[in-house]
């Protein structure tokens, strides 16, 4: 600060009660401006930096051609590190070299340039307006108001995009059958199977404190739509001590012996609710921390979800395998506008989504 030369005497810092702009501050010369040896040194440094870049490029190419990358952790990691570092030198050399050149050798004495207002001058504006008037006259629309012409033009242009957009948007929606969201693969008699291998589950397999991740039997054999069905049909099978389980009214026979099944799809925005805390009987969804109480109808005890997880009615079949009694009694997963419309009873047949 004290190196700034005062360009005005202190009494001229303000004039007539107004502050006066002191002007651009004094320009301090750099070492390389005044000392030719320093300038030469700077030049050599810049050249050296560019040289580092050249070495980096060569190193990158050498690594690329000599390193034989095999598909194991150490090899991939080694090639990655070597290429990354050499590429870094190749780039940084040029970058720092150019910047160093600009900082030490290039002009650093500031210049001043006047700005012009953005506004076009009044003369030019008048000419422009006149051109527009001339053009309007030439269009033949100024003799009378020609509202019919204007109106039809605007209408035509406004709706023409529809001819392109409607087929574009319409075709992207597939068969537009949003009713599919209502039903899943589960139906009366569908056996519960382990996710992901599809082996069947016997009631005796499910001991107290267990959680099984479940898919419907037959899901893995689907030729089409496997992930779409899985995205609706995944289920959690849990066994609690029956004394801890508060059966919900109307759903007393949907579970047995403390073995109970809920949809795994969060009723918030659809992540898999997968964390089961054995001691608290809480299910935690890792995405937004909605917490469901398995012992009390999977109702929400914390977090952004509002609705409890839909329960899958299950029973045991003659051979001891756990089966569904029907589809879910409500659409699974996140809420949508008309989820409560269109009936809540499960689809009677198993035709949808099966191979």
């Amino acid at each position: 600060m004290s190196t700034d030369e005062k360009q005005h005497s202190p009494s001229e810092q303000h004039v007539d009660g107004e502050w006066v702009d002191p002007g651009v501050p004094y320009h301090r010369p750099r070492r390389s401006d005044s000392d030719p040896k320093a300038a030469k040194r700077a030049e050599r440094q810049v050249a050296a930096l560019f040289g580092v870049s050249i070495l980096g490029t060569i190193a990158t190419l050498v690594v690329y051609f000599t390193q034989n990358q095999t598909e194991d952790v150490e090899s991939i990691r080694l090639v990655n590190v070597l290429l990354g570092i050499s590429l870094c030198f190749a780039m940084l050399g040029i970058g720092i070299g150019a910047v160093h050149w600009a900082r030490t050798l290039m002009r650093d004495h500031e210049m001043v340039e006047e700005r012009h207002a953005m506004r076009t001058s009044d003369e030019s504006r008048e000419v422009a307006i006149q051109y527009l008037k001339d053009g309007a006259e030439d269009s033949g629309l100024t003799t009378n108001r020609r509202t019919l012409l204007k109106g039809s033009l605007i209408t035509a242009v406004a709706i023409a995009p529809l001819a392109v957009l409607v087929p574009q948007i319409g075709n992207m929606g597939g068969d537009w059958n949003v009713a599919k969201f209502r039903h899943t693969m589960w139906a009366k008699g569908t056996r519960l199977a382990r996710d992901p291998d599809g082996s069947l589950i016997k009631a005796s397999d499910v001991t107290i404190g267990s959680v099984f991740h479940v898919i419907p039997d037959g899901l893995n054999e689907l030729e089409h739509g496997k992930l779409e069905e899985k995205a609706k049909a995944i289920v959690l099978l849990i066994r609690l001590d029956p004394r801890d389980l508060n059966l919900q009214p109307g759903k007393e026979d949907w579970s047995f012996d403390g073995i109970i099944a809920y949809s795994k799809i969060c009723t918030h925005v659809g992540c898999p609710v997968a964390l089961y805390e054995q001691q608290t009987h809480h299910l935690l969804c890792p995405c937004h921390q909605s917490t469901f109480d398995v012992a009390n109808g999977a109702k929400v005890v914390f977090g952004p979800a509002k609705r409890p997880l839909p329960q899958l009615p299950i029973a045991v079949d003659g051979e001891g395998y756990i089966v569904a009694q029907s589809d879910f009694h409500e659409p699974v997963g996140p809420s949508y506008w008309d989820r409560l419309k269109g009936g809540s009873s499960p689809a009677p047949s198993t035709e949808e989504g099966h191979a």
Partner: protein, 539 residues
């Protein structure tokens, strides 16, 4: 040799100029002045990381297969060998594991994306806090705002391309959010995915968006953005010689070509180094997308975290009051619409229209090319800090399980605390920031009136001890007084001379209230009279 080069250059230039008038172009651009300050390079960081994204992206498109067809991985990597996956996932593994340099380029691409979005936000904050959005740059603010939104789209579509469990669950969440939209939500979902989630067309569609539609828009808008910067000339910080009617700086050719051009290579080099050393997005650990698995620590990339945080923060029940309503049998999930649709919409709309809001309060009609020092605009600075703290609370809430794990806290407690902070912190930080700005302005006044404290104590003959103050140089004084005083708007009276209420009065009254909010409480810069009075008092 030099002479030969000269004639070669002259000849080529002539040939081109005779066909393109390029001489005028060179005249306009070559010696354009740019003020020199590091904070003006933040936008460049965004630009250069975008260039790195394009360069590395082209490499990746040579190997990525945007298809959801099912294959089994035939490579040797132990945890992936024989695993069933989509071709998109498989090609990502091939790029990372089998293509030499593929892992590096893929990691450079992803680190670059994080940097791109971070630089945009930082640059936007700099523009906001220095008032660079004022006339004539409102349009450029909108262009930049749109670029920011597009960067989110580019990032989101990009990291969803490998079709892994982490990004797939992110897509599932988007599907859930989309479904929550009243009336048309299920149709939008069905349209996006070409059917039920996950469908078979999503990856190819996102690929097109990611490499063609979004980058095309970004490139076009970058061109507009840079053109406007050249047209308006860059803004400059206040200082001696800097006025709204000039620009003080160094020329584009050669200084900024070297500095800015060199800086591109610096950014490239840093990204290469980081990508060589640090793992990012290890999709082989998440596995190919399946709707069933999910891992602890399921978060989107940082720039989408604010939405995830909003979704975590919003309670599904407030006491026994549900946040999902059923009206006439139709379901309205406010617990999703508020944090994921309504609040971000309001937040971004406020950001977008801010230049006009502030112009309403100022009544300022002139072009502004000298920047504000943030302390001299306390309400704007306070609003900016308030907005940032709102955003940060959401980002921290989006990371709440990570915070809970690392710091041994309860994630439930973190969420409950953030539910309070989301309201309290923006207001508190606004008030505190505004206070701090006033304090800084008062400090500036003190400095101008009394000078720097030197730490030298002098004893007068009559026994008084004083500290010697060194008066400020005229540059330092100018910096602290140049901003002038802005008084709140005065408006015409409510009733005209005939006693009839004016038509625009309501709006004017709103303007005055807004203006008072901004400018009523203010610290005026030292006037020359005060300065002289202080000088005399010292002698």
């Amino acid at each position: 040799m030099g002479a030969k080069v000269n004639t070669a250059v002259a000849g080529t230039s002539n040939w081109v100029d005779e066909r393109t008038t390029i001489g005028g172009f060179v005249k306009f651009f070559a010696r354009k002045l740019f003020p020199d300050h590091w904070s003006f390079m933040l936008g460049e960081i965004a630009l250069y990381s975008f260039l790195v994204l394009v360069i590395t992206g082209i490499f990746l498109t040579a190997f990525f297969v945007p298809s959801m067809d099912i294959v089994h991985y035939e490579g040797e990597f132990a945890t992936m060998h024989g695993v069933e996956m989509s071709k998109a996932f498989e090609s990502t593994l091939v790029t990372s594991f089998q293509v030499p340099g593929g892992m590096l380029v893929r990691q450079m691409h992803h680190w670059s994306a994080l940097l791109f979005t971070a630089a945009i936000v930082t640059h936007m904050a700099r523009v906001f806090f220095t008032g660079a959005f004022r006339k004539p740059r409102e349009i450029n603010w909108l262009v930049g705002f749109t670029l920011m939104i597009l960067s989110l789209a580019a990032g989101f579509t990009g990291y969803s391309l490998p079709d892994d469990v982490l990004s797939g669950n992110g897509l599932r969440i988007i599907d859930g959010v989309v479904k929550s939209i009243p009336l048309i939500g299920t149709y939008i979902s069905y349209w996006l995915f070409g059917g039920e989630f996950p469908g078979e067309v999503l990856i190819p569609r996102m690929f097109t968006a990611h490499i063609l539609l979004v980058p095309g828009l970004i490139l076009g808008l970058i061109a507009v953005h840079l053109f406007l910067v050249f047209l308006h000339k860059h803004t400059q910080y206040p200082g001696g010689g800097r006025k709204d009617t000039n620009v003080v700086g160094l020329p584009l050719f050669p200084v900024y070509m070297a500095k800015a051009g060199g800086f591109f290579f610096v950014v490239f080099g840093v990204i290469a180094l980081i990508a060589g050393l640090f793992t990012i997005n290890p999709v082989w650990n998440y596995g190919p997308y399946d709707p069933s698995p999910v891992s602890a620590g399921t978060q989107p990339d940082w720039y989408i975290l604010f939405i995830d945080g909003g979704l975590r923060l919003m309670p599904g029940w407030i006491g026994s009051f549900p946040m999902e309503w059923v009206i006439g049998g139709y379901t309205l999930p406010l617990n999703i619409l508020i944090p994921a649709v309504i609040l971000p919409g309001l937040f971004f709309t406020f950001l977008a229209v801010y230049p006009w809001l502030e112009a309403l309060a100022t009544g300022d009609r002139g072009e502004r090319h000298v920047l504000d020092r943030p302390r001299n605009v306390p309400v704007r600075t306070g609003i900016g800090v308030g907005l940032i703290s709102f955003y940060v609370v959401l980002v921290i809430e989006g990371s709440n399980d990570i915070v809970a794990l690392l710091f041994h806290l309860s994630l439930n407690d973190i969420t409950l605390l953030n539910r309070v902070l989301i309201f309290a912190l923006p207001i508190l930080s606004f008030l505190i920031t505004r206070r701090i700005c006033y304090g800084l302005q008062r400090k500036d006044r003190e400095l101008v009136l009394h000078g720097h404290e030197t730490g030298r104590i002098v004893r007068h003959e009559h026994g008084e001890y004083i500290e010697v103050h060194e008066p400020l140089s005229e540059q330092e004084v100018w910096l602290r007084v140049q901003h002038g005083d802005i008084a709140p708007l005065e408006i015409e009276p409510e009733f005209n001379h005939r006693g009839v209420r004016r038509k625009g009065y309501r709006f004017d009254r709103f303007r005055r209230r807004l203006s008072r909010f901004y400018y009523e409480q203010r610290i005026q810069p030292v006037t020359p009279e005060e300065y002289e009075a202080a000088k005399h008092a010292h002698h």
